[in-house]
Amino acid sequence: MIVIVDYGRGNLFSLSKALDRNGARHCISDQAALVRRADSLILPGVGAFGASMAALRARDLVAPLQGAVRAGTPLLGICLGMQILAVAGDEFGRHEGLGFIPGTVRRLPAPRADDAEAVRIPNVGWRRLESCRADALTREFGDAEMMYFTHSFGMAVEDVDNVVATVRVNGLDVPAIVRHGAICGCQFHPERSGEAGLALLARFVDRGDADLARPQTSSIGGN
């Protein structure tokens, strides 16, 4: 069973309908026991970094998530749910994240007048992915798949090998898809990114199985 982690953040309903469309059995839950037992986990999220971590702690979900990840349960963080996979975030002060992916979360750069591709922040709309390396999630993607983004912050990832694809924002290549073992994140909303987004979700669900579910080692931090 796929568990969509409900910690009061984000639109879980469109995500649920996207999984329905893929025929993926899932539930929406804030129960630690279900998180621990999940075959795979999806961590959605909107809003601010610190408030989201506080919401996870208030529901006693941090330890179950850490336990599941340590046991190799595949996890997909979406939008803010990806950002809180990092070690820390700088939105409204410094906040500790889940620490599943070495990196921090920073404000996106402001537009420059001389940049033909300048975007306003928040960066809202369909943006082109730039592939960095092959990954199960992006298998069969074309060269210029577009996904729906809405964000003001982005992840700075320590190990470039963890970056599957980026999105260009005001001259900076911001991680759009990250992976560290069985832990994945996407900065965009696959459930709102048309057929390409649905395909990515389907591949995460398909791969919620043994070949990626290997135990993680030292880099998984405890809080």
Partner: protein
């Protein structure tokens, strides 16, 4: 970087004005005509490349029979691009109900003019990306527009250019800007209105009201730097399908998701 610059895609949004169980369309938000079934139309627009779908309840009856939320809920099974609901959003509970039906964002007009703090409260709870200010602008002087309420039926005395600045400060994530003067006329956009609002705020501006052909959208994007364009008539009456509008944008050197 040797990569060639690609223009940022302009979002093309299909607007469905909903009354009861039907998509309808008027002129200047009046004189309504039935277009068809919302589910079928939303599905068609999704499949033909709409970047988002906007559902606007013209009678603001969120919970009545055949209410707009059941319309959205049905569409959400088959539409996987962002969906916005407007018309009758008055409380935090209304927003929860809209999100539960499958919407991603809500557009607020009348309730925000009555009580501007509502925008800030809603943005704090749901995030700015969820809250759109919907402005129904009626031109009163060459460079002055009044914000109307209740789907263009009531005056408010509120100046549009002041209001959008205040709403941005309160935390709205986008501005849906409808020209009541041009809406449904197919005579082109009120480009002065859109450029004037665009200059005053940083958040994305969605231009709505007046497109009669694909070139109207191209002209608007060339002149106003708006982020998104919302159309109804040209899609409903198949004057310029979504794909044709996007092709015209790309042919003119602008960006679009094809």
């Amino acid at each position: 970087m040797s990569r060639t610059a690609a223009p940022i895609p302009v979002r093309i949004i299909a607007r469905l004005d909903i009354k009861g169980a039907n998509v309808i369309k008027g002129v200047h938000l009046e004189g309504l005509r039935v277009i068809g079934s919302p589910g079928e139309i939303a599905r068609r627009y999704y499949k033909t490349g709409a970047d988002e779908i906007l559902y606007m309840d013209v009678v603001a009856s969120l919970y009545g029979r055949n209410n707009i939320l059941s319309v959205v809920e049905e569409a959400a099974r088959e539409v996987f691009v962002p969906m916005t609901v407007g018309g009758g959003i008055r409380t935090v509970e209304d927003i929860v109900a809209a999100l539960r039906s499958g919407a991603d964002k809500v557009a607020v007009n009348t309730a925000a003019i009555a009580r501007p703090e509502f925008l800030g409260e809603a943005a704090t709870i749901f995030g700015s990306q969820c809250i759109l200010l919907s402005v129904e602008a009626k031109r009163r002087a060459p460079d002055r527009w009044e914000a109307l309420t209740d789907n263009g039926r009531e005056t408010s005395g509120v100046d549009v250019l002041d209001w959008v600045v205040e709403a941005e400060q309160l935390g709205v994530g986008e501005i849906l800007l409808t020209s009541v003067d041009m809406e449904g006329t197919r005579r082109g956009f009120d480009k002065e209105l859109i450029a004037a609002v665009r200059e005053r705020v940083q958040v994305p501006v969605i231009a709505c009201g007046g497109a009669g052909q694909a070139d109207d959208v191209v002209d608007l994007v060339a002149e106003s730097d708006c982020d998104a364009v919302c159309c109804a008539s040209i899609f409903h009456y198949d004057v310029a399908p979504i794909g044709a509008v996007k092709q015209a944008l790309v042919a003119a050197g602008h960006g679009a998701r094809l």
